[in-house]
């Protein structure tokens, strides 16, 4: 396995040197894990290919740390997105062992490191390079639900719009979305149907539909009553399982369906 890696990875240090130094300097408790990464460099590859890397990691390391080690020490051409690295920016969603997760929130020791770990880009969005996909279709659907507060009337007393804790609680769950696309790109309907809004757009519509300060709930309900709107949802729960923020997405979609049926949030 590693012979292929050495040939493919141009900048990788010959394996014997790496192994010797690694074992000598190996921090206590560290172990070697194999990452099999789906590579695709549009300039040189016609098709995506799988490449494996052996990395020495600590039990406290996450998949993102392993990817960093590969990029910094073995193959600088490995491409992936990450910004905050602490589960808030939503940049590093990827498919790890067949499940959509954030690389920065996935501990390697939780994934059975005795077996190789498969890492690939999100499905259903155009692949650009290695682990980077084109997020534009995702944000296009997001923009279409008008994910911002629309309140054109004068607030009571002309000062501010107050909201009770109970009214705030109504949409609390859907405020947690970080737009990482893990849910939308885990949805089988989104993979095959090129037009479906996808769970994330519906979650962000939900956040304003059920906000009692907002005045455009009906507009959003009409948008989501589209042929490619909420009715495309098959309640497969892939989105709820994929969400790194633990949002009950399928429930939120169901609440939007219910609001469309009764005609008001």
């Amino acid at each position: 396995m590693s012979t292929v890696t050495i040939e493919a990875a141009q900048t990788r240090i010959p394996e014997r040197t790496t192994e010797t130094t690694a074992v000598e300097d190996a921090p206590p408790g560290s172990f070697v894990v194999t990452l099999i990464i789906r590579r695709y460099i549009p300039e040189t590859d016609d098709e995506p290919r799988w490449q494996d890397f052996d990395v020495r990691v600590l039990p406290t390391d996450r998949i993102l740390d392993a990817l960093h080690k590969i990029k910094w020490e073995q193959d600088g051409s490995l491409t992936f997105r990450r910004s905050c690295a602490h589960g808030i920016c939503g940049s590093d969603a990827m498919r790890i062992n067949g499940r959509n997760r954030l690389a920065c929130k996935t501990l390697i020791k939780d994934l059975d490191p005795s077996k190789p770990i498969y890492v690939e880009a999100l499905k259903g969005l155009p692949l650009e390079k290695d682990l980077v996909v084109d997020m534009e279709p995702f944000f296009e659907a997001y923009r279409q639900v008008q994910p911002f507060l629309i309140a054109n009337s004068t607030p009571p007393g002309g000062r501010e719009r107050t909201q009770s804790p109970v009214a705030r609680e109504r949409f609390d769950d859907t405020t947690k979305c970080i737009l990482c696309a893990a849910c939308t790109s885990s949805c089988p309907v989104f993979w095959t149907d090129g037009q479906y809004f996808g769970p994330a757009a519906i979650v962000n519509a939900h956040r304003f539909i059920f906000d009692d300060r907002d005045e455009s709930a009906q507009v959003r309900l009409d948008i989501l009553n589209d042929k490619e709107g909420v009715w495309r949802c098959r309640t497969t729960f892939n989105c709820s399982e994929a969400c790194p923020r633990g949002i009950e997405i399928t429930k939120a979609i169901k609440e939007v369906k219910q609001a469309i049926l009764v005609g008001k949030p």
Partner: protein
């Protein structure tokens, strides 16, 4: 040679939103839930009467069906069962076609020859034919048709040999 599908959201399937207008998706969704609830009760009723009540499954033969359809209650029961379940199934197939084939953008011959349109037409045709045939059989069923070969008639018919 490997057959590959276009990546979703490439140029062949641009995101197109329809304007606000009548849209049947909501009613399709409601129909699936409502008919599903009725079907659960009716199908178990159907299974109970045909396979369990009385002599059970051993009583089930041509005469049994003929006996049931002699009563208007079972005629209407079976009619409702047929229409609800067939439309339920066809609507489910329709969503599968919508999910797994891209609807054509062109018009005219390009649209008529697209797999999406052909599959949907075939589905609609099959559903309509089955509904009409089924309804006809339920209401025109005659176990002992006059002037037919007596050897082919079931034993309970007066004309049977």
């Amino acid at each position: 040679m490997a057959v590959t599908l276009n990546e979703p959201r490439t140029k062949d399937s641009p995101v197109v939103r329809r304007g606000a207008g009548k849209n049947w998706e909501k009613w399709g969704w409601v129909y699936m839930r409502a008919s599903g609830l009725v079907l659960v009760v009716m199908i178990f009723g159907h299974l109970y009467v045909n396979l369990y009540a009385g002599d059970g499954v051993s009583a089930l033969d041509f005469a049994f069906v003929a006996g049931k359809w002699a009563s208007p209650f079972w005629q209407w029961y079976d009619l409702v069962l047929l229409w609800l379940s067939l439309i339920h199934g066809a609507n489910g197939m329709r969503t599968l076609i919508n999910d797994y084939s891209i609807s054509p953008i062109g018009t005219g011959l390009k649209k008529l020859l697209s797999p999406h349109f052909i599959m949907k037409s075939a589905l609609l045709g099959a559903t309509v034919v089955l509904l009409i045939l089924g309804t006809l059989v339920i209401f025109t069923f005659d176990p002992c048709p006059v002037s037919s070969n007596p050897e082919l008639l079931p034993s309970f018919c007066p004309a049977a040999s």
